[in-house]
């Protein structure tokens, strides 16, 4: 896009873009490390994730403040306005992703003392891999500003939902087998839910990018394949 007549305005927008990318990188790292900490029962790594969250929170606040000042000073219009509003929303999504990683890390202690089969951890790892791919790709799309790619990410969220549902069923089975599994499995269930939510946030970001670049809302309902909320219901 062409540059602004007032060149510092471009600097303001670049600042927002750079900070969002930084936040994205950190959020991605926190999620990957939290799952690794969970799978390897690595308490030190879990602790690192927990303390990293403060950096992400700070970044979100700074982006919010910069956005407010830019709106007040430049009175942005059209694509500029959408861009700035988009940064606020994306920063909020990334901050939530960090929180979810932190929450997973906190559960490492509780799960570490249990003796659950490795394959459960594998399932979680697989779920996390998919969510991380979504997150990584959506951050790439943020850099490239491609509305087509943003739309294709949005359509892929249902894969994560489907694996989450099967993990949910699996965890239920373990709980039914042995009541001693209930505590660790409940923690893992929350971890799985956290990771599934990360996929949702990636989808949110994709939708925000689509709106930022086109000025239109993405067409149609978001594809959903999360039937975990009806597992165990009559007729299921």
């Amino acid at each position: 896009m062409s540059t602004h007549i007032v060149s510092v305005y471009d600097e303001d927008l670049k600042y927002l873009t750079r900070r969002i990318s930084e936040m994205g990188g950190l959020a991605e790292q926190m999620v990957a490390e939290s799952v690794r900490a969970l799978v390897n029962s690595d308490l030190a790594l879990a602790q690192k994730v927990i303390s990293d969250d403060a950096i992400l929170d700070d970044a979100e606040r700074q982006i919010g403040e910069k956005a407010i000042v830019t709106i007040a000073k430049r009175q942005p219009m059209a694509a500029d306005l959408r861009e700035i509003m988009g940064s606020i929303r994306i920063a909020a999504d990334l901050e939530r992703v960090g929180d979810l990683g932190k929450n997973t890390a906190k559960r490492v202690i509780a799960v570490a003392s249990s003796t659950l089969p490795r394959q459960l951890a594998r399932g979680l790892e697989h779920l996390a891999e998919l969510a991380l791919v979504q997150l990584k790709e959506v951050l790439d799309v943020y850099a490239s500003r491609s509305p087509e790619k943003a739309n294709s990410i949005r359509e892929r969220d249902s894969e994560i939902d489907a694996i989450y549902t099967s993990l949910f069923r699996e965890l239920l089975t373990y709980m039914m087998e042995d009541p001693r599994n209930i505590t660790p499995c409940t923690h893992l269930l929350f971890c799985a839910k956290n990771i599934e939510r990360i996929g949702d946030h990636a989808t949110n970001i994709a939708e925000t990018i689509f709106y930022m670049t086109t000025g239109a809302q993405p067409a149609g309902e978001r594809p959903k394949d999360d039937s975990a909320n009806t597992v165990g219901a009559v007729g299921n």
Binding site: T3, H4, I5, A79, R82, G215
Partner: protein, 271 residues
């Protein structure tokens, strides 16, 4: 519950917008100042009881177009207008039309407040007197009060109606000019950058006034302030180098315009 979906509501609103009657229709309007062509085949309609904002960089033809709507360009010898402009279906460039009467129906407020060097009272009564709209002193008193009320100036000047209009502050003078325009009960009010000489408080008062006047009048406003156009208008037309490049709902125009030139202009980018 009978809830309309968001899309249905939006569609209904769109239809409502599209059924607003057209007060003025401009068809293939071109304007020449001597050899120089200032407007190129502009097709722009003015909707009734709607505020239409004309925006664009200096020299784009927005004021020129505004001035064609009540034949203000007639006062410039070298100026020639082609195409057709109608008011309620009647051609305003018809040779038989009385220009004075036209300008009573299509009033104008200028960039710089220009009250007559007369009293506040006489400023407002001048138009009604020459158009024969009032017979008695009581009629005139009523017009003065109503016009100043409509212009949001009554409370500030009611105790000094016979003091000079030029003694008022800039913002008050501009509202006095609006009262003067309103006094002859026009149908359309043209405003050529009415706030560019005013401070932010006086500007806010004029904008509030525009919002209220919309119920009774059709308003066309030329403004260099994009924010002002976004705040006061429902329709916006963007001019560039004598061409109308885009006309749209104001909300769309300032969030997601269709034309790249509009985009660049409102965002302050190099085209």
């Amino acid at each position: 519950m009978n809830m309309m979906s968001e899309a249905a509501v939006e569609k209904a609103l769109d239809q409502k917008m599209n059924t607003v009657p057209l007060k003025m229709i401009g068809k293939d309007v071109s304007v020449y100042y001597g050899e120089k062509r200032a407007l190129y085949d502009v097709n722009l309609d003015v909707r009734e009881n709607t505020v239409t904002a004309l925006i664009g960089p200096s020299g784009c033809g927005k004021s020129t177009f505004l001035r064609t709507l009540n034949r203000m360009n007639d006062t410039i010898d070298s100026c020639r207008v082609t195409g057709k402009i109608t008011l309620d279906g009647g051609d305003i460039y018809d040779p038989n039309i009385d220009v004075v009467e036209l300008r009573a129906r299509v009033g104008m407020v200028f960039q710089k407040p220009n009250p007559f060097p007369k009293s506040i009272y006489e400023n407002v009564t001048y138009g009604p007197k020459i158009h024969g709209l009032a017979r008695t002193k009581a009629d005139l008193d009523q017009i003065v009060e109503q016009s100043l009320q409509k212009a949001g100036l009554w409370n500030e000047v009611k105790d000094r109606l016979h003091e000079s209009g030029t003694g008022l502050s800039g913002g008050q003078q501009q509202r006095l000019c609006i009262a003067r325009a309103v006094a002859v009960s026009p149908e359309v009010i043209l405003m050529d950058e009415p706030c560019s000489a005013l401070d932010p408080i006086a500007t806010a008062k004029v904008e509030e006034l525009i919002h209220e006047l919309r119920t009774n009048f059709t308003i066309v406003i030329v403004t260099h302030s994009m924010q002002q156009a976004a705040r006061v208008s429902q329709r916006t037309a963007m001019f560039h180098l004598g061409n109308l490049v885009e006309e749209n709902d104001t909300d769309k125009m300032f969030t997601n315009p269709d034309d790249q030139r509009t985009q660049d202009y409102i965002m302050g980018r190099f085209g």
